[in-house]
């Protein structure tokens, strides 16, 4: 079922290609493509989705559908105008702090209760959406086409990572995932320091 879902998403993503857009409303499709590309070119969006997919690897593929829905809802809530309290740049600090928390959970191989995982995924989607914010929807006149592309990319990555992580269950494979998580924690900690120095 999950394999079929990935297949359908890949087919859907293929329709966003520049060649395909020549046959339709090019502006809208290009904006969707812009949103899709934006997600894959910014590691501050890629890493949380990757980590939360690794975190969910113990809960089987059936729960992935709920998690994907939670990711979508979180992203949509944020992208569609959840107001940011205070300085928007502070969102980056929160996002990096959350990334460290996710990384530590994977690093220490903690199995979260099944009910908590969708909440974590929802929070991940919300934080990514808040951070992406104006980069995805810079001009309300262009509509929400970029948000559709951004959302599609996030779901594609989440599904792929969750599928791969749930299939690779050997001890050394879990160790590799924990090593990657430790590196992501280090990256996030350094980025927080850069943010503090930059804002100071």
């Amino acid at each position: 079922m999950a394999t079929r879902a990935v297949f359908l998403l890949v087919v859907g993503a293929a329709t966003f290609s520049p060649a395909a857009s020549a046959h339709g409303n090019a502006d809208t499709l290009h904006r969707i493509l812009d949103g899709a590309v934006l997600f894959f070119t910014a590691i501050e969006f890629l890493l949380p989705v990757l980590l939360v997919a690794l975190l969910a690897r113990y809960h089987g593929l059936r729960s992935v559908i709920i998690q994907v829905a939670a990711l979508g809802v979180g992203l949509l809530i944020a992208l569609m105008g959840l107001p940011v309290a205070g300085d928007p740049s502070v969102v980056g600090l929160y996002a990096r702090g959350y990334l460290i928390a996710l990384g530590l959970l994977v690093l220490f191989n903690l199995r979260l209760p099944a009910g908590l995982v969708p909440v974590m995924v929802l929070a991940t989607g919300t934080l990514i959406g808040l951070e992406a914010g104006s980069a995805v929807i810079d001009d309300p006149a262009t509509g929400f086409a970029p948000a559709v592309g951004f959302l599609s990319s996030a779901i594609c990555l989440y599904l792929s990572a969750a599928l791969i992580a749930s299939r690779y269950t050997e001890g050394w494979q879990h160790i590799a995932m924990r090593v990657v998580a430790s590196w992501i924690v280090a990256i996030a900690a350094l980025d927080i320091a850069f943010m503090i120095v930059g804002s100071g």
Binding site: A186, D191, F194
Partner: protein, 211 residues
């Protein structure tokens, strides 16, 4: 006949050198097509290059991998996880301008101690090994944090920095796995001795500079 053959070889050499020289120009062309913050100027590649530009850092990070391989599981993966994480703490201290005393001495000592451990086939308990590398990781992280370039994309720089550090450990582990064979054990322990010697050289430099 022989002269002709020599002339052909010379022509081939000149042609090869010309092709290589031409290839050397290509990276510059390629950079023109990629966002500079990704490739350099404080981007991913800048971060990737930063840890490998100092021999004193490189040998110590490779030594961590070698030592982990000698100690076996779980040290083989615990040490390479711990070192980048704690090195990041040192880098954060450097970024925030928090002083750490005798940096040069600490870095040189790390190569001497870690190389010496590998060379001597030392097998302390995991906690002792962890504390040793944790102590030295602070010293290795601090100067990297204190000497950062002006940034293009800080998070990409951080990613390059961490990945390079991790890959140096992986290189050490890969070489350290030769330890299973007698000839490999000799090679690994010789490398440990070499790392300690490099550390000694940098210790003399650090003392010469007044630490």
């Amino acid at each position: 006949m022989q002269g002709t053959s020599t002339g052909d070889a010379s022509s081939v050499s000149r042609l090869a050198i010309s092709v290589l020289a031409l290839c050397a120009l290509l990276p510059g062309l390629a950079l023109g097509h990629v966002e500079s913050s990704v490739v350099g100027d404080g981007g991913f590649v800048s971060g990737l290059v930063h840890p490998v530009t100092g021999l004193d850092h490189v040998v110590a990070m490779v030594a961590v991998g070698l030592w982990g391989a000698i100690l076996g599981a779980p040290a083989i993966w615990v040490l390479p996880i711990a070192f980048p994480l704690i090195m990041t703490v040192g880098a954060v201290l450097g970024i925030l301008d928090v002083p750490v005393p005798a940096i040069g001495l600490g870095i040189a000592a790390s190569a001497i101690v870690l190389g010496g451990m590998v060379s001597a086939n030392a097998r302390p308990p995991l906690a002792i090994a962890f504390l040793s590398i944790a102590f030295f990781a602070i010293y290795h992280g601090h100067p990297h944090g204190a000497a950062l370039p002006d940034f293009g994309v800080p998070i990409l720089y951080a990613a390059g920095f961490v990945v390079a550090t991790g890959l140096l450990h992986v290189a050490g582990i890969a070489f350290g796995l030769l330890y299973r064979w007698p000839a490999g054990e000799t090679a690994v322990r010789a490398m440990g001795a070499g790392i300690a010697a490099v550390g000694g050289y940098f210790l003399l430099i650090a003392i010469g500079r007044g630490l």
